[in-house]
């Protein structure tokens, strides 16, 4: 009595309506960046101080960047992302009091359980590289959010590419 019949017709229409991923990418990434979790450092600082305070999330975001990206279903650190992790290691060196949570995230393509594992792998790839670069493991913790916390809204290639990420959070 509380069920409604789903016709194969409706399912077919749904499929048809969903088959144009590339066209909506530009509009989605525009609104996505406004909905992203990055804090905008310029708004939170008063005019008196030039630039963010040392060792803060704001400084890390401005000077290093607060995330790197991964390929689909991969957890190895891409060659074009290594520089960010190396800069992160240097930043941790010059801010010895800072401790870091490395988050791992997946795009929504995949199951929730598998994406938790994938996010955990991505976070650990960053942790492992930081340790290889000399960071003390005691300053690093990892957490996976799987596909639960997308940075960019929408269901398209551009959003997914930005959601397959590891984010760096200063504790």
């Amino acid at each position: 009595m509380r069920f409604s019949l789903v016709t194969t017709f409706a399912a077919a229409m749904l499929l048809a309506a969903c088959s144009t991923p590339s066209e909506e990418a530009s509009t989605t990434s525009g609104s996505g960046s406004s909905g992203s979790t990055t804090t905008s450092s310029s708004d939170t600082q008063s005019g008196a101080i030039p630039g963010p305070a040392a060792g803060t999330q704001e400084e890390l975001t401005v000077e290093v960047g607060d995330r790197i990206f991964f390929d689909y279903d991969q957890y190895n650190i891409r060659a074009d992302q290594r520089g960010t992790v190396e800069a992160l290691a240097a930043w941790l060196d010059s801010n010895p009091a800072a401790t870091l949570t490395v988050e791992g995230h997946a795009d929504e393509r995949g199951t929730r359980e598998y994406n938790l594992a994938l996010g955990e792998r991505r976070a650990n790839s960053v942790r492992d590289y930081l340790i290889a670069l000399g960071t003390n493991p005691g300053r690093l913790s990892v957490v996976s959010f799987g596909e639960e916390r997308p940075a960019v809204l929408g269901s398209n290639d551009s959003a997914w590419a930005q959601n397959r990420r590891s984010a760096f959070v200063v504790n």
Partner: protein
């Protein structure tokens, strides 16, 4: 406490059988007795459910008779729930009661079979309700085969009137079992994740309801993200993942929720993230994934000692474990071969073999309660599927295909599956996720309507 009496027949006398004692708070007390048939005729009516598409069997379900308005109300309500259950199974077509010739009152002295043949009812259900002096209600029902003019089953229940819906489900199970030869699945609940809000601020709460969507209630407040709830074999406990907030951080961990006490507890303090929990067949342990030092392995956690046992040993991702109903084997998900595929191992972790062979990726395997099949999520060429295969990987069949369908769960008779479907998000991150059920044959897909969006359904075993 629950006690259940069975009577082989009025003449043979009673042979009482006590079911195991269960936690008192949630289980209603009732007594059931077989109502003997009027004559010795053997009924032959059977729904053939081995074929793919079944023409639903026309069944007439009369309002249960009552002398007074309170009884009549209960009688109408029970008949309506029975009718809706049987209709939803896809195997039965309740005959329009406006066409009925014989009334509920005269049915008490037996059916006039000709009246029911005339409206093409092949099976007939009738019953009556009596409110007793002690405040309890007596419900009696009978099922007849109209064409061979024989009673197929009859039962009598005595319980409190508040349990009328539960009794309606038990009667539905009896009718389903008698006509299909398989056990019913109507006296069950579904626990799931109720969802609302945009993609990046989606609120996810545990919720539970009867299999028909009734008696819905939320179990958690929504302050913490929850995922993947699963029932214990006793139906009184749930294990699930929650992102617990502590000191501004969120930590994903496996929890237990006791449905009788409402108490939640973390499964244990483990060195790494724990997720993807499921109870063992006996309910004395939970298998899950634990990520230690960057490697996700399958572990068993003994619920009494909380001792952990590592079951996989591979540098790849090993997750989503599910026991076979005889506990001898575990099916799980691993990317050890490159992409995510399904593997089966002995329950001690030995003899690992890959069972999925198709293109794309396979996830969330779950063993059928009958033991013969494994349901899974498959992703291939940009689409998702819910599929089934035999435990050795043969006979793979896709039941549903869509942009995103995920996380199958079995009804306890291994005949019906539930899963969820998510739509593409728009640029504002608006999505919908809905729970569906489908027959094993791939027919009869229905939406299970929930107050909010729904995902991660888990079907309970039959409630004792």
């Amino acid at each position: 406490m629950m006690s259940m009496q069975r009577f082989k027949s009025r003449l043979a006398g009673q042979s009482p059988r006590l079911a195991p004692a269960l936690l008192a708070a949630a289980v209603m007390a009732f007594a059931a007795a077989v109502v003997a048939p009027a004559g010795p005729a053997q009924a032959q009516l059977q729904v053939d459910i081995t074929r793919g598409f079944v023409e639903p069997l026309p069944i007439a379900i009369a309002d249960f008779f009552g002398e007074i308005p309170e009884e009549q109300k209960l009688g109408n309500d029970i008949a309506a729930v029975v009718s809706a259950n049987l209709e939803r199974s896809g195997l039965f077509r309740p005959v329009d009661r406006g066409a009925f010739i014989q009334d509920a009152s005269s049915l008490r002295s037996g059916p006039r079979y000709g009246d029911w043949r005339l409206i093409n009812a092949q099976a007939l259900v009738a019953g009556n309700i009596q409110l007793q002096g002690d405040g309890r209600m007596r419900v009696q029902f009978r099922l007849w085969d109209v064409f061979s003019e024989a009673q197929m089953t009859g039962l009598q229940y005595t319980t409190t009137p508040a349990n009328w819906r539960n009794i309606a489900h038990r009667i539905s199970d009896q009718i389903y079992q008698r006509l299909t030869g398989e056990s019913g699945y109507f006296t069950t609940q579904i626990v799931y994740v109720a969802e609302q809000g945009p993609q990046n601020r989606r609120i996810k709460r545990l919720a539970i309801m009867d299999q028909d969507g009734e008696n819905h209630r939320f179990l958690t407040s929504g302050n913490e993200t929850v995922l993947t709830p699963r029932f214990s074999p006793s139906t009184r406990e749930i294990t699930y993942l929650a992102f617990q907030r502590s000191g501004g951080r969120e930590v994903p961990r496996v929890y237990l929720f006791n449905l009788d006490t409402g108490q939640q507890e973390v499964l244990g303090e483990f060195p790494g993230m724990t997720f993807a929990p499921r109870f063992s067949t006996e309910g004395n342990s939970v298998i899950l994934s634990m990520a230690k030092d960057g490697n996700t392995e399958v572990y068993g956690i003994d619920l009494r000692t909380r001792r952990q046992q590592r079951l996989t040993n591979h540098p790849g991702i090993d997750t989503s474990p599910s026991y076979s109903p005889d506990s001898s084997q575990i099916v799980f998900n691993s990317d050890r071969g490159g992409r995510a595929q399904l593997y089966v191992m002995n329950s001690d972790g030995s003899n690992v073999r890959r069972i999925s062979q198709g293109k794309g990726s396979y996830y969330t395997p779950v063993w059928s309660p009958r033991g013969d099949l494994i349901a899974f999520t498959r992703q291939h060429a940009g689409e998702f599927y819910i599929g089934i295969m035999r435990a050795d990987g043969s006979g793979e069949r896709m039941l549903v295909r869509d942009y995103n369908v995920e996380a199958p769960t079995w009804a306890p008779n291994g005949r019906v599956l539930s899963y969820f479907r998510t739509t593409r998000a728009d640029s504002q991150g608006r999505i919908t996720s809905k729970i569906f059920t489908i027959d094993l044959t791939g027919f009869n897909e229905r939406e299970l309507v929930t107050p909010l969006d729904g995902s991660d359904p888990a079907w309970s075993p039959l409630i004792p």
